[in-house]
């Protein structure tokens, strides 16, 4: 009897664990199936076509793809230096008493839902951009900044964790030769944690690419490559969020699904790269 229960339990756990693989495969399959109509009708136009006009049955996703890439790039440019600065502060500079409160604050910031970042961006940041640069205040720049602020806490926290893996004794050896804090950070901590730091940055970028709510409020959903950084634009997630419920034809839906598939493949690849090349998980046994 015990033997039977043991077997059932073991198989149950294995079933649920395997389901994770199954669900992932299912997601890719379904997205692919739903995209077939668009793939056959549009071909490469979904990626290269600049015109997105559903009523004309034109579905060129170029503007959305470029918008995704540009907003993510902008966000990274803004967030990476600050995140590294915060990580250095938390890992090497902050006095013990500050490490916990500041560290926890950063982690709580990371827990705030992205929709709230979007709201804050819309009501508080857009006016600032509008006053500074003119125009509507909604666009690529605002989206990039809001996205940067959103991924900043997560990026800072995991980069700090990577830096903290440096053994104290290694750092002490450098101090013992007369190194300053910065010497130790640049010559010991960063080279030692290099893989983890880069992996963390890439992982954060992978998340930023798929971010919807923080940018939907402030991007503008205009299917055009913005001529200036303050022009409205769109990204794949923003397109999906705004248009999924308005799609009224098979080809429209299928194009949206194809964009979703492209987005999934891109972010999956980026995150997988960060994982396999940079972030080897250490198991304690």
């Amino acid at each position: 009897m015990t033997y039977i229960i043991d077997k059932i339990f073991a198989n149950a756990t294995r079933f649920f664990a395997l389901s994770v693989l199954f669900i992932t495969a299912w997601i890719f399959t379904v997205l692919f199936q739903e995209s077939l109509v668009a793939m056959q009708t549009l071909g490469f136009d979904i990626i290269t076509g600049e015109k997105w006009a559903p009523n004309l049955e034109k579905f060129g996703g170029y503007a959305a793809i470029v918008g995704s890439i540009m907003s993510t790039f902008l966000a990274m440019v803004l967030a990476v230096p600050v995140a590294i600065g915060v990580a250095i502060f938390l890992s090497e500079i902050a006095p013990e008493k500050l490490k916990a409160p500041v560290g926890v604050s950063i982690e709580l910031l990371a827990a705030i839902p992205s929709v709230i970042y979007g709201m804050w961006g819309l009501f508080y940041f857009v006016p600032i951009i509008r006053d500074t640069f003119g125009g509507l205040g909604i666009g690529l720049l605002t989206a990039g900044i809001v996205l940067a602020i959103m991924i900043l806490p997560y990026m800072a926290a995991i980069t700090r964790d990577a830096m903290n893996t440096t053994p104290d004794i290694l750092k002490e050896s450098a101090y013992a030769l007369g190194g300053t804090k910065w010497d130790v950070i640049k010559d010991i901590v960063i080279p030692y944690a290099k893989a983890g730091i880069i992996g963390s940055l890439i992982l954060a970028m992978g998340r930023a690419i798929g971010e919807t709510m923080a940018v939907t409020f402030v991007m503008g959903n205009v299917h055009k490559i913005p001529k200036s950084i303050t022009d409205p634009a769109t990204s794949i997630p923003v397109t999906l969020a705004n248009e999924f419920n308005e799609a009224d034809s098979d080809i429209y839906f299928s194009s949206l699904f194809e964009l979703a598939l492209i987005l999934l493949v891109i972010s999956f690849t980026v995150i997988a790269i960060s994982k396999f090349y940079f972030l080897r998980r250490k198991r304690s046994l």
Partner: protein, 280 residues
């Protein structure tokens, strides 16, 4: 300037810059929390809890439908997702361990944890909403469950793995079958950590909007029928805040306030549980 003096100067500059970054980070935290609290407190009144959604301009407008809807959606997702995730995590830590299969499952789960949530929404649309012919709470629940599983799986795996192998060996040595070792010894030892993982998972899933946009969609009225669309705090926030109506926007802030307090509360509770365990 001697080389050493130069080094000391650069050191001071870097320290200043990095402290500045930390201040910038903290600054945003306080800014966002600040406006949340200010706007939220101003917008909260009994109406929020007494009334359901109403067109703009109506006095008797509230969030009751969204609050109840959110509880149902997240609650059901938790009910399904947590046991699923815990059992899957148990497999990884207790049975699969370092095997190739287990490592693959861990990697895929990790990647899916960071994958775009709007894609999950599209997936559930295709497999639930389309066949059903309409939006439904079930679709939203399934989407949230899919998001919750990798989180619970990972934390369970990590927490169970922290239980020292000597504890397991002692139980086996007394003749206990594996499932009893897991249920009675390992789970007990990792209780606090797994609970924290669950709380954090709930917190994360509660804040999701994108997967609900085209699954549970929205509703202005409180309804308990899982086959019908259902309101949620997050989607309501999105709709109300992007509307041009001031009273709706205000209600949106009330929703934002309630939601973030809930999520921050769960986070802090989770940490306190872990701290309490460390203290023992």
């Amino acid at each position: 300037m001697t080389h050493t003096k130069k080094r000391i100067l650069i050191n001071k500059v870097v320290l200043a810059l990095s402290t500045l970054s930390a201040l910038i980070g903290m600054g945003f935290l306080f800014w966002i929390l600040g406006i949340l609290i200010i706007n939220g407190v101003e917008a909260i009144n009994w109406n929020i809890f007494m009334f359901e959604g109403a067109p703009p301009g109506y006095e008797e407008s509230g969030l009751q439908h969204a609050l109840i809807g959110q509880l149902i959606l997240v609650g059901m997702a938790t009910l399904i997702g947590v046991p699923f995730g815990i059992l899957a995590g148990t497999y990884l830590s207790e049975y699969g361990q370092k095997s190739k299969l287990a490592e693959t499952i861990r990697d895929i789960s990790d990647i899916m944890m960071s994958a775009p949530s709007i894609v999950i929404g599209s997936f559930v649309y295709a497999i639930v909403v389309l066949p059903m012919g309409h939006f439904s709470a079930w679709a939203g629940i399934i989407a949230l469950t899919i998001m919750m599983i990798p989180i619970i799986l990972r934390t369970t795996d990590d927490m169970l793995n922290l239980v020292p192998s000597t504890l397991r060996e002692a139980a086996f040595a007394l003749g206990a079958p594996k499932y009893k070792v897991i249920l009675q010894v390992v789970y007990r030892g990792a209780k606090a950590g797994v609970l924290t993982g669950v709380l954090l998972g709930i917190a994360r899933v509660s804040g999701e909007t994108a997967p609900l946009l085209f699954t549970s969609f929205n509703d202005n009225f409180t309804n308990y029928d899982l086959n019908e669309p259902m309101a949620s705090l997050t989607v309501t926030m999105f709709n109300y805040a992007t509307s041009p109506y001031e009273d709706w926007q205000q209600i949106g802030w009330a929703a934002a306030f309630i939601l973030s307090m809930f999520i921050l509360g769960l986070n802090i509770l989770g940490r306190l549980i872990l701290l309490a365990k460390k203290g023992k």
